[in-house]
């Protein structure tokens, strides 16, 4: 099946020469939730802004359901909804009117039932006649989502949807994204909360310094995260792994005084008990034992650092 969003070699250079995107290519399948993960200034918002038409790309192409975002911008943009990072709303307008405005702007005729449905889905119906300025920050974020959904987009961009919001609202947002997926909406969200990507994404793309460093299914990444390390601290340093322990894939730690054993926490037998027995049999004296788990955050940080080193 053709991807609903196809990004090919997108570059964005600003007048001052700064290159915010350095040839980004990415395909996004219909109905999936992709988390675009990256540190501040990585190019996440620039990429979204380019796809949505707010920023013009210097090079490359983007198609939405086969429609080019420049040559066939009407069809492409009609399929996209954008929730920006900053809360940008007309403060004196009523909630319902601002959602109606968005629907009309994206070419859909006035349909009160559709607007009512969106407002109800986002728990905004009771606030429909309130002025935006009277709403809490969380409610304003909901209004932004309602506006983005007003024209029934097929692809939704959420730019840092939970930046600066409390835990409860963050979970509400995740629930909303889940509901949208059930409705067949493809969602691309940018975040620097790894927890958020873990909670809702199907795939994770890591972007740093204007380049995509990794695109992988969340489950595969989680499997990598499932790898744990047992670190056996020894009383005396070692030069090589003793032959008696050859059956284990052990490495000697940087300090030369520890043995590192990687194992899968999900497997039936981790082999830890036998290893510790064999270590004792080999005559090695233990001073301490600890376990470490690599997190998505570790993977993310190491990827970003690798990217920086390569640059």
């Amino acid at each position: 099946m053709a991807p609903i969003l196809s990004i090919k070699g997108v570059r964005k250079a600003y007048d001052g020469g700064f290159e915010a995107l350095k040839g980004v290519s990415l395909d996004i399948e219909e109905g999936e939730i992709l988390a675009l993960l990256g540190p501040n200034g990585a190019g996440k918002t620039t990429l979204i802004s380019t796809i949505c038409g707010i920023t013009m790309p210097t090079a490359g192409t983007v198609t939405v359901a086969g429609h080019d975002i420049i040559h066939d911008y009407r069809a492409a943009r009609s399929l996209i909804g954008l929730v920006p990072q900053e809360i940008a709303l007309e403060p004196f307008e009523k909630v319902i009117n601002t959602v109606r405005f968005s629907r009309g702007l994206f070419g859909k005729g006035r349909k009160d039932a559709a607007v009512e449905d969106i407002l109800k889905r986002l728990s905004l119906w009771d606030k429909r006649d309130s002025q935006i300025r009277a709403l809490s920050g969380g409610m304003k974020r909901r209004v932004l989502i309602a506006k983005a959904l007003a024209h029934d987009p097929k692809v939704l961009f959420l730019d840092e949807p939970t930046a600066g919001v409390d835990v409860e609202l963050r979970k509400d947002m995740w629930e909303i994204v889940g509901q949208l997926r059930e409705a067949g909406v493809t969602t691309i969200l940018t975040t620097h909360y790894i927890e958020e990507a873990e909670a809702i994404a199907d795939r994770i793309a890591v972007i740093s310094d204007g380049e995509i460093l990794l695109v992988e299914g969340k489950d595969k990444l989680m499997a990598r995260m499932g790898q744990k390390q047992l670190v056996v601290q020894l009383a005396a340093p070692l030069d090589t792994v003793p032959e008696a322990l050859g059956q284990y894939d052990l490495t000697i730690g940087e300090d030369g005084q520890s043995l590192i054993y990687s194992y899968d926490t999900k497997s039936e037998r981790t082999g830890i008990t036998r290893l510790l027995q064999d270590v004792a049999k080999a005559g090695l004296q233990l001073s301490d034992v600890e376990t470490r788990q690599s997190s998505l955050e570790d993977i993310f940080v190491s990827l970003v650092h690798k990217g920086e080193d390569a640059a």
């Binding site: 802004s49 920006p84 900053e86 940008a88 007309e90 307008e93 405005f101 968005s102 702007l105 994206f106």
Partner: protein
Amino acid sequence: MNWSAIRAIYVFEMARFFRTIAQSLISPVLSTSLYFVVFGAAIGSRIQEVEGVSYGAFIVPGLVMLTVMTQGISNASFGIYFPKFIGTIYELLSAPVNFLEIVMGYVGAAATKAMFIGIIILITSFFFVDIDIQHPLAMIAFLVLTCVSFALFGFIIGIWAGNFEQLQLVPLLIITPLVFLGGSFYSISMLPPVWQTISMFNPVVYLISGFRWSFFGLADVPIVTSLLAIAAFTALCLGAIWWIFKTGWRIRQ
């Protein structure tokens, strides 16, 4: 054409006007009344008539023009500057609309507001002086064209402005002097010959002259020249806006 978008922008902008309808109307009505008191009564008592028309009636077209020009500019410039200022412009830029649709929505609303106020001023003036409009259709046409062209110009100012000071700068430093020196309160023929020649470089002269002709059949310049001037000004503004959206100047990175 994305008619839904044009309608949405227009309705949204008009809602802003109706939210503050009292301020929108009281201010121009009050200032017009003051103009009648100062120019009509105080100065009018000394001038009596200009080319056969009572001075009080003579200044009405100028007053209406003065108001619709400044209102057209301020409404349109604020209309597009405010979304830039509060950040809601993102929605406009990411919507399936072209420059013409955006302009029709914003400028249409700004011109409607200006025309609405212009008509209120005209109605107010009926309480002060007797006016007989000789060419009502031409009067409406001039009114609409002036509202639209100055709203277009205001739209450009709104896109250009980087802050609220700049938003006020062009109307204050350029438009107000041009309007006051454009024959709002006098006939160009009353000026010394040198100033008459200089006035011919002021585009506002052509608009006020044409508008005044529709009232009294009196004009400082031929009516066709007035129409050409306003058409040229409108075309110039439209061309500038087309270029702005094509290049993304000041709105799109």
